[in-house]
Each structure stands twice: as structure tokens, then as C-alpha cells.
């Protein structure tokens, strides 16, 4: 089932990329990033079945990091919302210059 799992993973990853490029809501973009991470997790697990349990260990770590990243990222978005009253990425251009 490796090939099928990899196929699903690739498609999910692509959908995640599509979402990042299209959406302007910061939270939704963030969730698309989570989707991409999940796709990668699927790849790891699929390989773990064929090549050894180390793949699952990787998934473990990816999930941990994703959790930390989600916490910090959402805190940033909250702070940004307090400053700009919007989460629309087009209006957030403080980096312009």
C-alpha cells in the first residue's frame, strides 16, 4: 500500500499549497500549512511500514513541533488582530519597503 499512500500524501500536499496561495485569511492559511504537515506525516508512516519504525518516530516529532508552532503562530495572529483589527493578509503589509 505504499504507492497508494504516497499518492494520497502528494495530493493532500498539493491541496495545501493551493490553499496557501489562494486564501487571504491568515488563520485559514495557517490551517493549510497544518494540512501540508499532515500529508508529510502520512508519507512518513507509509515508509515506516516498509523500512522500519523510525518513520513513526519522525511523525511523533513532527506532531510535537506542529503543536508548538500552532500555539505560537496563533498567539501572533491574535496580537496582529489586536493591532490591525483584521486578519486579511492583504492589509497586513508592515514589511513593506
Amino acid at each position: 500500500m505504499l504507492a497508494e499512500a504516497l499518492f494520497f500524501s502528494a495530493v493532500l500536499f498539493t491541496i495545501g499549497v493551493f490553499g496557501v496561495l489562494i486564501r487571504r485569511n491568515a488563520i485559514i492559511v495557517f490551517m493549510c500549512v497544518e494540512l501540508m504537515l499532515n500529508a508529510v506525516n502520512l508519507t512518513f508512516v507509509a515508509f515506516a511500514q516498509a523500512y522500519g519504525a523510525a518513520g513513526q518516530v519522525f511523525v511523533f516529532f513532527v506532531m510535537t513541533v506542529a503543536a508548538a508552532e500552532a500555539a505560537v503562530g496563533l498567539a501572533i495572529i491574535i496580537a496582529l488582530f489586536r493591532h490591525r483589527q483584521t486578519v486579511n493578509l492583504q492589509n497586513i503589509n508592515l514589511l513593506k519597503g
Binding site: 486564501r23 488563520i27 497544518e34 508512516v45 519504525a53
Partner: protein, 189 residues
């Protein structure tokens, strides 16, 4: 030998059917997630994707990971997302959130390009010596339980990474707390 090299007759048909089913659910949920206007709806569809992924994990002899997926991803991370959406009162969806049609088509093309390239890369093959015999992981799970295959490497080879991850979590907690403070609170505390 990879599972794909084995004639499909060796796997139970039910197994294969369910595998494809959950995969399809995952993809459809992901598509729906990306195209929802309302953030809450999108979040819920993402939760659905994660559930189906958990099912896939279980079918791939990673039962522990599947459980963790539900507990951590769907149960904690997505809940935090929903909390934040509610907190910022974004539930109703901003009108015209996505970019225009032209952007969508371009993004679609880019996506397809990435897909194509990923497939081009999968043409690579690995050495025979690295692959485990078929059903090895399932056998392991049977013998030692679902957690043992992970716990072994985790606390032996990847111990350092494990410890560092705990530090990372600490940093993330501190960061989130600091960033989340109100303006007045930050200077005071």
C-alpha cells in the same frame, strides 16, 4: 519487497477497499476545507481530514500514531484553532476571502506542477537491503504491542531529540503566553 510489488491477491479485498475509501474521504475533505468561506466550516472539514488520516495510519500498522493523531491534532491543535476563530469573532467568514480567478488558475497550475515533480521523484528506487519483509511491522505490533516499535528508537537513538523537543515546547509555551498578553499586561507582568 514493497507491498505494491506483491500481487493484490495477498491483501484482503476489504482492506484495500477501506484504504481507498479513507484516502478519498481525506482528499475530498481537504478540497472542501480549502474552498469554504467560513473559517469555522473550513476548520471542521480539516478535522474530518485528520480523522480519515488517523484511520489510514491505523491501517498502515501505526496504531499508536493514529491514536496520537486524534488526540493531539484533531483534539488539541484544531480545538485551539477554533478557539482563536471564536475569540476573534471570525466565524461568519469574510466576504471575498480568496483571490481572483486568475490567481486560482495559476495556483492550480503551480500545484499540478508540484504534483508532477513529486511523481517524477518517486521514480527513484531504493536498495533491496533496506526494505523489510512484508508484514514485518504487523508482526512486531502483534508481538510487542503498538507502542513498542516507537518507544524503542525514541528513547534510544533519538533520545537527544526527544529532550530537545521538551525544551522547544517550553519555549513555545512561554512565547505564546508573552505574545498573547494585552498591551497593558505585557509591561506590567
Amino acid at each position: 519487497m514493497l507491498a505494491q510489488d506483491m500481487p493484490h491477491g495477498t491483501l484482503p479485498l476489504l482492506y484495500t477497499f477501506h484504504f481507498y475509501l479513507f484516502g478519498l474521504i481525506a482528499i475530498v475533505s481537504a478540497l472542501l476545507f480549502v474552498t469554504r468561506k467560513s473559517p469555522v466550516a473550513a476548520a471542521l472539514w480539516l478535522v474530518n481530514t485528520m480523522f480519515s488520516l488517523a484511520a489510514l495510519y491505523v491501517m498502515l500498522d501505526a496504531q499508536f500514531i493514529g491514536a496520537i493523531q486524534v488526540l493531539v491534532y484533531a483534539g488539541a491543535i484544531m480545538v485551539v484553532f477554533l478557539f482563536v476563530i471564536m475569540l476573534l469573532n471570525l466565524g461568519h467568514g469574510v466576504i471575498g476571502d480568496a483571490r481572483g480567478l486568475g490567481w486560482k488558475l495559476t495556483a492550480g497550475a503551480v500545484g499540478l506542477a508540484i504534483l508532477a515533480q513529486i511523481f517524477a521523484l518517486t521514480r527513484a528506487s531504493t536498495a533491496i537491503n533496506l526494505t523489510l519483509p512484508a508484514g514485518y511491522t504487523a508482526q512486531q505490533v502483534e508481538q510487542t504491542g503498538a507502542i513498542a516499535p516507537i518507544a524503542g528508537p525514541l528513547f534510544n537513538e533519538y533520545l537527544l531529540a526527544f529532550e530537545v523537543t521538551s525544551v522547544l515546547l517550553l519555549a513555545a509555551i512561554v512565547g505564546a503566553v508573552v505574545l498573547g498578553k494585552q498591551r497593558g499586561e505585557r509591561d506590567a507582568g
